[in-house]
């Protein structure tokens, strides 16, 4: 019987397989950031262990870093200690690090791919659940806890429980104005926050194949929001073209050998998935969340649901709690929901294409009075590219704030946070209670919807704007 993409990558990394034991897998790339690594390095020190493969390890600073005044000392002393701890650990153990101020600094899941370190057929781990992003290249990439970070640092391997495979097949063409973000939000609402549990998802079908690498990364990024172990997309010409010429992409004969191998990775025709989900791309519309988990979403054209309509008692209670927290009334059209803030950025939607999409909507317009909009590039490289294209000027002319690279308002670990009760349309990945700051209310949206929402002051799509602007999906 044939094998799936995920099974091929897994099989190619088995270091040890023994009856009654989990497979021991080799890890090709280990990404580190300041939040989930200090206790792992402490563990190494206590046991007198070294980092086994510093040449397969790289660190960047992202979660705690401010996006303003980055040339000044970090104001929060606890954040400062955490960043300094990473720098000290990197120096002591010989790990390459890109610190605040470095041209390669940025959100860990933006930095890996843009350096060409993320390649098809690799195993990639990081102490961060959004490591699933790297699956867009046909890598098996997943988030791990700090104990596992220490395990990989010490051994470059991980013992891993077996997984099941799920195909998410999206056929057809995405309608104009419908993006990768809308697609993945719709998938999560369809299968639920636990629907992917135990599975590696493989996104396939004509709609997926037609997507850029940036869009594929957005999709794989949020696999974890469906509870999945990982998300993957088979590598193809789009993948190879993205990689060729990047700093760490193979060169010369190595490039040819690599491509020859990468071309063998796609799921075999006779392979069987443990579960399958089908989605018709043509039926998708701009999608937003109304609740406090990413599975609580609906098309922008819908209304806030009535909890009484949920058959499952747990879901009903969850919806009641969510509406209370979000300050929403059942039956309110989502387009009537007013926002205080808009955030464009994060490892989900902080890449150059995302910024271009937001800028295309904002160009020549002003954001609504009383709305605060933050645009935060995913990395310094993304920021430089945006400046070269003049996007920063579009954002500031529209009244948005153009910031330095980092995780920013995706999570409440740095100065960019919502105030209690503030409502935000956010291109990030989690709408959990308090995720963007204590008491903050999050609606997950695409960059296009984020930009249109900033202009209107209520949840909106570009098609709602007067003199409707045409926006590339």
């Amino acid at each position: 019987m044939g094998r799936t993409l995920a099974e091929k990558v897994w099989d190619d990394h088995v270091v040890r397989r023994a009856e009654g034991e989990p497979d021991l897998l080799y890890i090709d790339l280990h990404l580190l950031h300041e939040v989930t690594s200090p206790q792992a390095f402490d563990g190494l020190r206590l046991a007198g262990r070294q980092v086994r493969r510093t040449d397969l390890t790289i660190a960047t600073e992202d979660h705690n870093t401010p996006t303003l005044d980055i040339d000044k000392p970090i104001a929060d002393p606890v954040s400062r200690v955490q960043l300094e701890t990473l720098r000290k650990n990197a120096e002591e153990f010989g790990v390459r690090i890109h610190s605040l101020g470095d041209v390669e600094q940025g959100v860990v899941h933006v930095v890996g791919p843009q350096l060409g370190l993320t390649q098809p057929g690799m195993t990639v781990v990081c102490g961060d659940s959004h490591t699933s992003t790297h699956g867009a290249f046909g890598a098996l990439a997943f988030g791990i806890g700090t104990s596992q970070v220490e395990h990989v640092l010490a051994t470059q391997t991980l013992p891993l429980a077996p997984f099941r495979t799920m195909a998410i097949t999206v056929e057809g063409e995405l309608p104009e104005g419908v993006t990768a973000k809308d697609l993945i939000l719709a998938v999560i609402t369809k299968i639920g926050t636990g629907g992917g549990q135990g599975y590696v998802l493989e996104y396939r079908g004509s709609a997926i194949r037609s997507l850029s690498m940036e869009a594929r990364m957005t999709i794989c990024n949020m696999s974890i929001e469906a509870g999945a172990r990982a998300g993957m997309i088979a590598p193809d010409r789009t993948t190879f073209d993205y990689l060729q010429g990047r700093p760490h992409a193979p060169q010369g004969a190595d490039w040819d050998a690599a491509v020859a191998y990468w071309e063998t990775l796609a799921t075999d025709e006779d392979a069987v998935f443990d579960a399958e989900v089908f989605i018709d791309a043509a039926e998708l519309t701009p999608f937003v969340t109304w609740g406090t988990n990413p599975g609580q979403g609906a098309p922008l054209g819908a209304s806030v649901p009535n909890p009484a309509d949920f058959e499952d008692p747990q879901e009903r209670v969850a919806a009641e709690n969510a509406l209370k927290y979000m300050g929403l009334e059942a039956g309110t059209p989502l387009r009537e929901v007013k926002v205080d803030a808009v955030f464009v950025g994060s490892c989900t939607n902080g890449r150059i294409e995302d910024l271009r999409a937001a800028a295309a909507v904002l160009e020549g317009r002003r954001i609504a009075d009383g709305v605060r909009m933050l645009v935060v590039p995913g990395s310094v490289r993304v920021a430089l590219q945006a400046v070269e294209e003049g996007l920063d000027k579009v954002f500031t002319a529209a009244g948005a704030e153009w910031r330095h690279a980092g995780c920013s308002m995706c999570l409440g670990m740095n100065p960019d946070q919502l105030a209690p009760g503030e409502r935000c349309a956010s291109t990030s990945n989690r709408n959990f209670e308090g995720r963007q700051g204590k008491g903050g209310r999050t609606h997950l949206v695409s960059p296009q919807v984020a930009a249109a929402t900033a202009l209107v002051g209520r949840l909106a799509a570009p098609s709602d704007l007067p003199n409707n602007v045409a926006v590339e999906a």
């Binding site: 040890r16 206790q39 402490d42 040449d55 791990i144 806890g145 190595d254 050998a257 209670v317």
Partner: protein, 198 residues
């Protein structure tokens, strides 16, 4: 890792589904660089409400958390496990756990037990009717017991063995170092490196 064999204690019923790791331990707590001192951050936002179950006097000293489905979704932060342990929880019972949280818990000796939702409901009813009711989580017998409840649970043999013996994963892997070296010798030259070749 601490050994886990069997534990008996009073329970906290947490009637919520999709308790994400941002609720278990909010992000601002993650700036700490230690594995201890997270107890005050556990469910920090919800604990501001006096009526929240963890704040009730009858729940003080309880050590078994009985939670709704999809417990531990979201971020991979192991701090969520440390916060539960720092607070005094020894075991968490739910009908479904998020994968990364479950993996983290079992690597730290916090036993996460999967039981059918009907059994979870039964345990909720028991402890809500009488907060002094004790629940036993027996890893050797792979069984949860309480008044009128005997519920077997599944746990992978290898994971159970590691927990019962409090074994350190890294030491076990290092015993197979020769396998790792042999694998490394076969890695293709096109695989990327973060540092120039020495």
């Amino acid at each position: 890792m601490e050994k886990f064999t069997t534990h008996t204690g009073r329970a906290v019923p947490l009637r919520r589904s999709n308790v994400d790791t941002d609720q278990i331990i909010p992000a601002h707590w993650l700036k700490k660089v230690t594995r201890s001192g997270f107890e005050d951050g556990l469910f920090e936002a919800w604990r501001k409400d006096e009526e929240f179950v963890l704040n009730r006097p009858e729940r003080q000293g309880a050590s078994v958390l009985v939670a709704g489905p999809e417990f531990g979704t979201g971020s991979s932060r192991e701090h969520a496990v440390w916060a539960l342990q720092n607070y005094g929880f020894q075991a968490v019972v739910s009908s479904r756990f998020a994968d990364i949280f479950r993996g983290n818990s079992l690597k730290n000796g916090l036993l996460t037990v999967v039981l059918p939702q009907e059994t979870v409901e039964r345990l909720w009813e028991l402890t809500e009717a009488d907060p002094t009711v004790e629940i036993t989580v027996d890893l050797e017998a792979r069984e949860v017991r309480a008044e009128g409840v005997t519920a077997p649970f599944e746990l992978d043999d290898n994971v159970r063995w590691r927990l019962l013996n409090g074994l350190d994963d890294i030491s076990i892997t290092l015993q197979n170092e020769a396998d790792v070296s042999a694998f490394e010798a076969t890695r293709p030259s096109f695989k990327p490196r973060t540092l120039p070749a020495a």
